[in-house]
């Protein structure tokens, strides 16, 4: 027998800020998962090369300037730290401080990119091209990997400035900072990838 | 879990039983869907397939049977709007239909493993043949048995077909210089890709004599426009004697080193006649010393140096032994210009002229073989038969057709370097040959298209096209006979006429 029952009147509110924030964070994690995979492919290519032809890597390392790149690494790490400071600032309600910190993140990121370009120039002079007869095989693993990472940094820098401008327009608050949080996830990811790259290409 | 009465089990049981019978019956059709079992491996593969077909047939019938039964028995009555009984599932049944397929695939995996290991294992006393697949032909290289070899002569022979004999296990070692190909003999049930940069292997044991034309060999990996036409054949001889008889026959008759050397010198590809006199070949050059009896002279000229060594060195570095009274004008001939084999052939030729030489008679024995020379000679003989005797007035069209056939045969590898749309060639190393006849007519002043093409084939270094590497080897008469060259030129001319008449 059919009966009419009144609606429960649930508002399973998918519109609430918390729900939206959760969605965005989860989405960012999924996106990073796919990024992890593609970086892994390029990293694996380099690793295999490293194991199979250590002489080529050692030879190329003579052209690479480890100290220079170490400075760059420090710059990127500092930018991550600035990122964290920015997030803390907005969580405490300090918008101006957040804007400054995020701006610093972007500037440091930009610095990283520029210094990497300088490093690329150096390598070109040393003859390490994308492919050349001599150090060519190193180049074809080095450039795609670092350039792919560099592209991600560039996107992050642009994103940082967007976040900064939004902050200037006071779009964030201690209850609404998900935009900064997911940017942070992305930025930290890019940083972690760099640590791995740096270690593999320059150190071990 | 309700509303299941026992009567609904009956159709299921019936279907199951019929499925099994159906599977068994279907599997008996196995031979109809395969080529003949020409290898020991074929029988094993076919038997495995019989099992697959039986199981597959049974499952096929089970599913289709259940479908048909459902359509008939469980059709909704026209006025019935109601739902069917609510059946959620049946754990036992679900376990059963998970477990049974799992068992089936386990059994299949075990059987397959056994067949695979058996096919792959190394057999005793394998005949080893080297295979090269390149766009778009196959070539097979056989070691010439000691007994058939000529001292200092070639140790292997290359032909376009695979020759084997009954019950001798075969192992193919395969390479390719260009793209991925795949060697497949359906009758033998074996297939293996050829990968650039690697040597791949495949094994089989022939157990059946081949029909006319041999068992087809097919390329099974897309390799370009000519992929479909990249075919060959496996010829299975009755026994080792028959195989050896073929091998001896295949070694070029007129191609003993002396004959090959003679052909090379007569071909005009080398400029020797310009400076030397040699009565045997009608040379009248006056610049360098005459070459009549050069073999005997050479044997005595430098103490400790044999005639062969002297002649070879005189050609490679003429400055070493300039004969007094003659200018040091002879250029050195590098390996690019005269290969080691050609050099041996030249020496053999001179030896044959010498009264002191041991065998001056043309023999059947192993001869110098350039990669495709043998096949070329054979093909050349055929083409000569077709184009020459009894067909003197063959229309240009016929000649062009023969030229086309020759170009598409395995005798030459122009496709590896040249593009030609009509032939389906896609090479990128040398200049494209579309419209070559027209280009050739005007490229060099005073040279007709025929002359240009002829010379470009005989001595390609004469007219290297700018922007392309000087990589084309000279094609001697041993590789491309005069008749074949005429046919090639006729073909290119026909292409131009076609274009002109469009």
């Amino acid at each position: 027998m059919a009966q009419l029952v009144e609606t429960h009147g649930h508002t399973h509110d998918h519109e609430s800020p918390q729900a939206k924030a959760e969605n965005l964070k989860f989405a960012m994690w999924l996106y990073l998962a796919s990024e992890v995979i593609i970086f892994s492919i390029l990293i694996a290519a380099f690793a295999i090369f490293r194991v199979r032809q250590p002489e080529m890597v050692d030879e190329a390392r003579e052209a690479l300037s480890i100290s220079f790149v170490s400075v760059n690494t420090f710059v990127l790490l500092a930018s991550s730290w600035a990122m964290v400071m920015g997030l803390l600032a907005i969580q405490k309600g300090n918008n101006e401080s957040m804007v400054r910190w995020i701006g610093l993140t972007g500037v440091l990121g930009l610095t990283f990119v520029l210094l990497q370009l300088v490093e690329y120039q150096e390598l070109r002079h040393e003859g390490i091209a994308l492919y050349s007869e001599t150090a060519g095989r190193f180049g074809q693993r080095f450039y795609p990997l670092t350039a792919f990472h560099g592209a991600h940094v560039i996107v992050g820098v642009i994103w940082a400035f967007i976040v900064m401008f939004k902050g200037i327009k006071r779009q964030y608050s201690p209850t609404n900072y998900i935009g900064i949080e997911i940017f942070g996830l992305y930025w930290h990811f890019v940083d972690v990838v760099w640590i791995i790259l740096f270690t593999m290409i320059y150190l071990i | 879990m309700n509303a299941e009465n026992s009567s609904s089990y009956i159709p299921i049981v019936v279907i199951l039983v019929i499925s099994v019978i159906f599977g068994v019956v279907i599997s008996s059709f196995t031979p109809q869907v395969f080529p003949t079992q020409a290898s020991a491996e074929a029988e094993q593969v076919d038997n495995l397939f019989r099992v697959l077909l039986g199981i597959g047939g049974a499952i096929f019938f089970l599913v289709q049977g259940a479908l048909v039964w459902s359509i008939v028995a469980y059709r909704a009555k026209p006025d019935d709007d109601s739902d069917a009984p609510h059946i959620h599932g049946n754990t036992t049944l679900e376990i059963v239909w998970t477990a049974i397929p799992a068992v089936i695939v386990f059994v299949l995996a075990v059987l397959s493993f056994q067949v695979w290991t058996s096919i792959r294992e190394e057999k005793a006393n394998e005949q080893i043949v080297e295979v090269v697949g390149q766009r778009f032909n196959w070539s097979f290289t056989y070691a010439i048995p000691e007994a058939m070899r000529v001292p200092d002569g070639p140790t292997s022979i290359t032909v376009p077909e695979l020759h084997v004999y009954l019950n001798r296990p075969v192992k193919l070692e395969m390479t390719t210089p260009d793209v991925i190909h795949s060697f497949w003999v359906p009758a033998m049930r074996v297939k293996q890709d050829l990968l650039p940069g690697r040597t791949t292997e495949v094994r089989f044991t022939p157990v059946e004599l081949s029909p006319d034309g041999g068992f087809p060999v097919v390329c099974a990996e897309l390799c370009g426009g000519g992929h479909g036409g990249m075919r060959s054949a496996v010829i299975v001889h009755e026994d080792e004697a028959a195989f050896n008889a073929w091998l001896e026959n295949a070694l070029p008759e007129s191609g003993d080193p002396a004959g090959a050397g003679r052909q090379l010198l007569e071909s005009g590809a080398l400029p020797c006649a310009g400076c030397h006199t040699l009565d045997e070949l009608g040379w009248t050059g006056q610049v360098g010393p005459p070459l009549n009896d050069v073999f005997d002279t050479a044997a005595r000229r430098v103490p400790g140096l044999t005639a062969e060594e002297y002649i070879m060195q005189s050609i490679r570095e003429p400055g070493a032994f300039v004969v007094e009274g003659f200018p040091p004008a002879m250029p050195p001939f590098t390996e690019d210009q005269i290969s080691q084999q050609d050099l041996s052939n030249i020496v053999a030729f001179f030896r044959s002229l010498s009264a002191d030489a041991d065998d001056t008679s043309v023999s059947d024995e192993a001869a110098d073989v350039d990669a495709d020379e043998t096949a070329d000679i054979e093909a050349g003989d055929e083409a000569a038969d077709e184009a020459g005797v009894g067909d003197d007035e063959s229309a240009d069209a016929d000649l062009a057709a023969q030229g086309r056939e020759f170009l598409l045969s395995s005798a030459v590898q122009c496709a590896a370097c040249h593009t030609q749309d009509d032939l389906g060639w896609n090479g990128r190393v040398g200049p494209p040959l579309n419209g070559i006849y027209d280009t050739a007519a005007t490229r060099v002043e005073g040279l007709s298209a025929e002359e240009y093409i002829r010379q470009s084939i005989r001595e390609p270094s004469a007219f290297v096209v700018e922007g392309f590497p000087p990589a084309m080897p000279p094609h001697t008469e041993a590789m491309v006979s005069e008749e074949q060259l005429d046919a090639i030129i006729a073909y290119f001319r026909s292409q131009s006429e076609e274009a002109a008449s469009e």
Binding site: L30, I37, L130 | L67, H86, L93, R120, P186, G224
Partner: protein, 575 residues
């Protein structure tokens, strides 16, 4: 306990969006869904035309239709690439886009803007692909093996690779959207095991996409670098390896076939249950088997390389490839048990559903045969494989798409498709499909390789049969297209729930209002609870809200329609 809201004054009428709304940027998942589907149907026609060219060429053993062997290679390369990346994958995405939010009782996807962005990557990608033909045609098959694809394929190969990059990004963004939506936007009362099976398969598919597509991106990047960057990843003479491509490419492309087939299986579950008015047998196991297939699907890739992979490594892949037959078998048997003792209505949707069961099983059987390594050695790269792939992708995925169209067209457009034309479409398609692709098994086993324009004359008889059946199959497609166009204007008006189904997309008008539901719907505790009193109550409630649902049994409706031809709608009504 399922409920519907209190009765309204009048039944809700669906209002179809104006056609202009489909031609521009919209963040409404329903519009985007239709955009995906129409784009996909366009590529279906293009890919189908290419197939007709292939079959025309293969009527004779010689080369006579294509201008050259090379051009023939381009034709089938484009055919494969377009059908996979332009037809099936976007079509499934279209169904998912339209129906997942509805089945979840949600207003839209989690990220509507991202949804639109993902769609709008497709038209430019499609244009790049078509452009490649004119720049320098690809000729290495959709599988694009180097060195053929790096050294000999035309410049269009680079464009095609870029096009696939765009499509891959679109795919990944869409998949992220689906996963977040399904995870976070289910209504109260709908745990994972109360979700409709179509949504389950979309979830499994989306997980595959996120994890597998980056591999395609990696492979494509290496290919592009080799072609224009001077690198030597695939150049054996310089330290490269052609197998690198094969491994990375297939690591994506095998899971890709499950991307294509799993949503189809989800559609099948919906259609079979509704049109036989019976609960899905073993719902939980069917749901989990989708995840099982997705997972195991990542372990089988090298069975595409059984003749090129190092011989020692081949056995493990044989084993995993056989294992994946088990969850697939679970599904097939569950579906059979679903319709067993059901009350089957032979709607066009159901016919295609049954056709799927019939044909997909054949593809599955030939799949297990292909997993059997020694046999695969014989038939790899032959017409046996062409047969298998078409049985599972056409007899499987496309039949499921057809079933989905017949099933859901009323919901999307507010009109019923003509059932008689639907039956005609089914019968012609079923027979011609079988006659086109089954004989290919024999051609392959007897010695005909694939991807050839010229073949041994002994295969001609088989090829003629195949080609003629193929032409019929091609033409029969237009019956559906005609049906769709005609029904848009003249089809019988559809009620909210003409099939009297229990999933939530049917708990709103046809088509749904822009916010999908007037009030938040409450789902049935069992979306396949046919035969329960709860279901009766639920449907009764719907009738109160939406007015009479069409009779469930369509033969009665057909008879009624046959005697009642005076019921076309006035022009413009319902638009």
């Amino acid at each position: 306990m399922a409920t519907i809201t209190a009765p309204l004054d009048r039944p809700l009428e669906g209002k179809r969006p104006h056609i202009n709304e489909y031609l521009r940027w919209s963040v409404d998942h329903k519009i985007i869904g239709v955009q995906y589907m129409v784009t996909a149907l366009f590529f279906f026609i293009v890919g189908g035309a290419l197939a007709m060219m292939i079959r025309a060429e293969l009527l004779t053993p010689a080369l006579d239709v294509a201008a050259s062997g090379q051009q023939f290679n381009t034709i089938f390369s484009m055919h494969g690439t377009i059908m996979i990346f332009g037809w099936i994958i976007p079509m499934m995405a279209g169904f998912g886009n339209y129906f997942v939010p509805l089945q979840l009782g949600a207003k839209d996807m989690a990220f509507p803007w991202l949804n639109a962005f993902a769609f709008w990557l497709i038209p430019p990608a499609g244009m790049l692909l078509i452009l490649s033909w004119f720049i320098g045609p690809i000729e290495a098959g959709w599988t694009a093996y180097p060195p053929l694809s790096t050294l000999f394929s035309g410049d269009g190969q680079t464009l095609a690779a870029l096009s696939l990059h765009l499509l891959g990004i679109s795919s990944i963004l869409g998949a992220i959207n689906f996963i977040v939506t399904i995870k976070n936007m289910r209504p109260p009362g709908m745990g994972y095991f109360q979700m409709p099976l179509f949504t389950w398969t979309i979830l499994a598919t989306a997980l595959i996409i996120v994890l597998a597509t980056p591999f395609l991106a990696g492979a494509l990047t290496l290919l592009i670098l080799d072609r224009i960057g001077g690198t030597k990843f695939f150049d054996a003479a310089n330290g490269g390896d052609v197998l690198l491509w094969q491994n990375v490419f297939w690591f994506y492309s095998h899971p890709a076939v499950y991307i294509m087939v799993l949503p189809g299986m989800g559609i099948l579950s919906e259609v079979l249950a509704v049109h036989s008015r019976k609960s899905i047998f073993g719902y939980k196991l069917v749901a989990l088997s989708s995840l099982g297939i997705a997972l195991i699907g990542f372990t089988v890739w090298a069975h595409h390389m059984f003749t090129s992979l190092t011989p020692e490594l081949r056995i493990p892949f044989m084993i995993t490839s056989m294992i994946i037959a088990v969850p697939t078998g679970i599904k097939v048997f569950s579906w059979l048990a679903t319709i067993w003792m059901g009350k089957i209505r032979f709607t066009a949707a159901m016919l295609f559903g049954l056709g799927f069961l019939s044909m997909f099983v054949i593809g599955g059987i030939s799949g297990v045969m292909l997993a059997t390594l020694p046999f695969d050695i014989h038939v790899h790269d032959t017409y046996f494989v062409v047969s298998h792939l078409h049985f599972v992708l056409f007899g499987g995925a496309v039949f499921a798409i057809y079933a989905g169209i017949y099933h859901w067209f009323p919901k999307v457009t507010g009109r019923m498709l003509d059932e008689r034309l639907g039956r005609l479409h089914f019968f012609i398609t079923y027979v011609s499909f079988f006659l086109t692709f089954f004989p290919m098994n024999f051609a392959g086993m007897l010695g005909m390789p694939r991807r050839v324009a010229v073949y041994d004359p002994k295969f001609q008889t088989l090829n003629v049969i195949i080609s003629i059946a193929g032409f019929v199959l091609g033409v029969s497609t237009f019956i559906l297209f005609y049906n769709m166009f005609d029904s848009l204007r003249h089809g019988k008006k559809a009620s909210a729930n003409p099939w009297r189904a229990l999933t939530l997309e049917w708990a709103t008008s046809s088509p749904p209002p822009s916010t999908n539901f007037i009030e938040d719907p409450v789902p049935m505790s069992d979306p396949y609870g046919y035969g329960t009193t709860e279901a009766e109550a639920y449907l009764y409630g719907q009738e109160q809200q939406f007015g009479p649902l069409k009779p469930a049994h369509f033969e009665a409706a057909l008879l009624a329609a046959a005697s009642d031809d005076s019921d076309p709608l006035p022009e413009g009504a319902g638009d």
